[in-house]
């Protein structure tokens, strides 16, 4: 996909530092994400990868640093504002709405697109009905795309882990985001399922032009599908570049890959 990646920066992260009491989760991290690229974040456990995503979408407020979205800088931002700007996200520890069906989970992703008021919704009449159906159609596309048609009405809690991850992705996709943050979307999948998941991610990237930030521990996946890779270790950035450069980086090998790779 490298050819279609422009040089335009969509997300510019500058000097982010984040502490929890004594724990320095992130120290002075800067990197950028370009429009339409697949940007991987890797690093050992506890390096601060998930925290980085949490900073980007407003769950954590970093003590130092700023994040610019399409050149617009912000420091404190509520999750809602970030969502409105077109950033969606999946979670490492599944954060699905357990009591709801697959369909409803994905429908929640359309919240920002739903406009009818409470009263009309209660009557479910006219515009409310039309809107609901229009959104439903969009969601059905996603369900088809992720091939979970059979589970539409199943409560997500009953699904096996791998499918739950897929629903999580579906919910994020439903937001029609410009930037999609994926936190270990392939954990707990076997190779074939990972292949499918990669296919989904690549398709999203290509068909919808979505920029993707991906955290993943499977080096095979990272090396194959990402355009550029950031490496974190103990909250510090220790590498940034094309997959092949990163793979050869001594620091990265020592801290993360180990010799077996």
């Amino acid at each position: 996909m490298a050819e279609s990646v422009s040089d335009e920066v969509i997300l510019d992260i500058k000097n982010i530092s984040l502490n929890f009491g004594g724990v320095k989760a992130l120290t002075d991290i800067s990197f950028d994400v370009r429009v339409h690229e697949i940007r991987a974040i890797i690093g050992p456990n506890g390096a601060g990868k998930s925290s980085m995503l949490n900073c980007i979408n407003g769950v954590y407020q970093p003590q130092v640093g700023s994040i610019a979205f399409r050149g617009q800088t912000f420091k404190h931002m509520s999750s809602r504002q970030v969502a409105e700007m077109g950033v969606a996200r999946t979670f490492q520890n599944l954060a699905l709405f357990k009591g709801m069906s697959v369909l409803d989970n994905i429908m929640t992703g359309r919240t920002l697109h739903m406009k009818t008021g409470l009263l009309l919704q209660a009557l479910r009449w006219g515009p409310a009905e039309r809107e609901e159906m229009a959104q439903r159609e969009k969601v059905e596309h996603i369900i088809d795309f992720l091939e979970i048609q059979a589970h539409r009405k199943t409560p997500v809690g009953r699904l096996p882990y791998g499918l739950q991850k897929r629903v999580d992705l579906g919910r994020a996709l439903a937001m029609e985001p410009e930037v999609l943050l994926l936190d270990e979307p392939m954990a707990g999948m076997n190779v074939e399922e990972k292949q499918d998941m990669c296919r989904f991610i690549l398709d999203v990237n290509k068909e919808f032009g979505t920029t993707i930030v991906l955290i993943e521990h499977d080096m095979g996946v990272v090396m194959d599908i990402s355009d550029r890779v950031v490496v974190l270790d103990y909250g510090k950035k220790i590498g940034d570049g094309l997959p092949d450069e990163v793979r050869r980086n001594e620091d990265v090998i020592r801290a993360y890959l180990g010799t077996s790779h």
Partner: protein, 274 residues
Amino acid sequence: MSNANLLLNVNGIKVIYNHVILVLKGVSLQVREGSIVALLGGNGAGKTTTLRAISNLLEGERGEVTKGAIELRGERIEKLSTAQMVERGVVQVMEGRHCFAHLSIEENLLTGAYTRKDGKAAVATTLEKVYSYFPRLKTRRGSQAAYTSGGEQQMCAIGRALMANPRMVLLDEPSMGLAPQIVAEVFEIVKDLNAREGVTFLLAEQNTGMALRYADYGYILESGRVVLDGEAHALRENEDVKEFYLGTGGASADNPRKSFKDVKSYKRRKRWLA
């Protein structure tokens, strides 16, 4: 497989959740004392359910074994409680970590030794051993488990089970969320405990390559049935396994593995029974 040192014998079990959802449709498997057995299969195949059935954790999920038998060293165990299983040396590492959120990492680990009767000193030794396996845990020992990273929690869950000094460990997706280096280490630990202390392992794993490299024997589960089983090395050579679980199907010598990028279409796993 000879019956001589049979540790665990699962015989044709059926499991139903919520009185209506039939998940295991007659699963049988054997684990010999001192072996490492891998349980493979796609999402929703029933691996977790099988492990839950063995360690008797189904009740809390409103599931029940409706048919078949499970024997541990010849003793029927379906009626035992999980605590009694732990007393018999069988400990499960649950899928999805399940750390005690409000307890610190160290407290989590110490709780793992709840059933031990061999004194504080012995527990302390095991604790040190776990810390040496997972140095990262030592640095985070004082923080509440809920506020550690996913991988740290995974290490904590594995370490907690090891604290019980088990004879048999049921590992559910140990590699999930761990960095490659740590994954390798976890498997080394498994091998190490197995070789040196004779601990038996039954592991449900998605990282098929790793699992088959370390296991002696493997079972492949799909839709609640065992569809294939055999010695690990034999499975590694099986074409279907290669294609669907190892991702090396049709690979050639100079290109050992197909790139994830080059997968052009979604595949549906071959239905073994179809």
